[in-house]
């Protein structure tokens, strides 16, 4: 990783601009992911949302951050994060349960089957736990991915458009399931869907080439009903903002 990144703990502060060989990816921005709450980041494609997420996850090797990513309560960021993306990234040769246990396996820890089965039950896949990914539907695969994310028991969860490939009904279900089970974690959800941000955001950020804008989320805790007036209004406001920025 680039110099100048300090890792401290829990609430996460992001501050800086991103560069790839002298070319700026996004200008200096700063935002905070409040401990135990959902931060949703919206923005047009290619503006650098995923780059921000990858920088936080420590996965960027070419793009350099001129700034810092800091945990408020101190400590290293590595080992504090789990990741869930649009593609489920399940290993095709492992069963659902074995996929949930992947972290254990890759770190050489004793696999905790009881906990894995409990999480599989939580996401409603007990009957399917022995199936391999090809035998599961898209929604079921994302449920396995959610269980795998929960298995890691890490305080910070980065979600990179995890529901965008699902159909509307399954997407709504998954949003509810995620809101229920990820409670108490510090979450960054990168999405291009204003409706998703309006349902799940306790803080909503709109990223554009000019920088970052804080949008006031609808009143009330999450997860909000998709047909609530304030949620619909917020969705409209976000869409308008996105179109202006474009």
């Amino acid at each position: 990783m680039a110099n100048g990144i300090r890792y401290l703990m829990q609430s996460l502060l992001f501050e800086g601009s991103a560069w790839i060989n002298e070319i700026q990816i996004f200008p200096r921005i700063s935002f905070t992911m409040q401990a135990g709450s959902w931060t949703c980041m919206l923005g047009p494609s290619g503006v650098g949302k995923t780059t921000i997420l990858r920088l936080i996850a420590g996965l960027e090797s070419e793009i350099v951050l001129d700034g810092s990513i800091v945990l408020k309560e101190g400590g290293r960021l590595s080992g504090q994060i789990s990741l869930m993306s649009q593609t489920d990234n399940l290993l095709p040769w492992l069963s659902a349960t074995e996929n949930v246990l992947l972290g254990n396996r890759l770190r050489g820890e004793k696999p905790d089957f009881d906990k894995a089965n409990e999480l599989i039950k939580k996401v409603g896949l007990t009957e399917h736990r022995k199936k391999r990914p090809y035998a599961l539907s898209g929604g079921q695969r994302q449920r396995v991915a959610l269980a795998r994310t929960l298995m890691e028991e890490r305080p910070i969860v980065l979600l990179d458009e995890p529901f965008s490939a699902l159909d509307a009904r399954v997407r709504a279900e998954m949003q509810e399931l995620a809101a229920q089970h990820l409670q108490g974690k510090t979450i960054l959800l990168v999405t291009h869907d204003p409706a998703e941000a309006a349902r799940l955001g306790e803080r909503i950020l709109v990223l554009s080439v000019n920088g970052i804008k804080d949008v006031c989320p609808p009143a009330g805790g999450i997860i909000r009903a998709y047909d609530e007036q304030t949620v619909l209004a917020c969705q409209g406001q976000l869409l308008r903002l996105l179109r202006e920025e474009e």
């Binding site: 593609t87 990234n89 890759l106 050489g108 990914p133």
Partner: protein
């Protein structure tokens, strides 16, 4: 089964064509013996051909096995270590510029007339295709899965064992399919340069004594052996690939 039937049909057609070519062109048997004569020779010389086939078969199998092990180990080392890549890869390309056939007399000079120079020839001829196809597979692990394993703080060797190697099995399988066809070539070249047994030796011997029917009988046995080998490895490769794919 359909494939098997088609194979038989093609073989029968080929033999008929061969037979009528010999009959109508009135070719002497020291130029092209008829398939019937070849069949008779095969039956009457069965134990002789079998003895030599066993020798060639063992050379091919041992060469194939050793080449696969050596090629796989090389591919894994190259995939793990960038330093190994910068040093070993140019050497491998250079070694490919050297025709393996040209080495055959040298190998015989160094290792004598026994099995070893033939095994080494088979090994040398398959080493590159096995290494390079397996290496390509190892370097093309789906990026999302690698990112995930990194965020999970996976141990590099465990990531290799549990993710990169299983994901590269289709690559290795395609290398082995090539190897199954190349290995017999290596063994036969080795026998041509200097041997006292083996199908290649028998063919040269028969050729020198104008026993073209015996030469053809040996040649057909070699073809059948190669086909069986290729078919077995193809089956094995397909079933492994199916297991590892989504």
């Amino acid at each position: 089964m359909k494939l098997f039937l088609r194979l038989i049909l093609v073989t029968v057609a080929l033999f008929l064509f061969w037979h009528f070519l010999v009959v109508f062109a009135d070719l002497p048997k020291f130029i092209l013996p008829s398939p019937l004569l070849v069949m008779q020779t095969f039956v009457s010389n069965f134990s002789l051909i079998l003895k030599h086939a066993v020798v060639t078969g063992s050379e091919i199998l041992v060469g194939l096995l050793a080449g696969t092990v050596l090629g796989s180990v090389t591919a894994i080392c190259l995939a793990i270590s960038p330093a190994a890549r910068t040093i070993v890869r140019p050497m491998m390309v250079l070694s490919q510029a050297l025709p393996v056939f040209a080495l055959a007399p040298l190998l015989t000079l160094w290792l004598g007339y026994g099995l070893w120079p033939k095994i080494l020839m088979a090994l040398l001829i398959i080493y590159f295709p096995v290494t390079s196809s397996f290496f390509d597979g190892l370097m093309n692990t789906p990026k999302g899965m690698l990112d995930l394993s990194r965020v999970m703080n996976g141990n590099p060797w465990r990531i290799m064992l549990n993710l990169r190697i299983p994901a590269a099995v289709p690559g290795l399988a395609s290398g082995l399919r090539l190897a199954a066809v190349y290995a017999p070539i290596g063994a036969i070249i080795g026998e041509w340069v200097g041997a006292s047994e083996g199908l290649g030796y028998l063919m040269l011997l028969a050729n020198g004594r104008a026993k073209i029917d015996l030469m053809f009988a040996a040649l057909i046995v070699l073809v059948v052996m190669t086909l069986i080998l290729h078919w077995s490895i193809d089956r094995l490769g397909n079933s492994l690939t199916a297991k590892m794919s989504p």
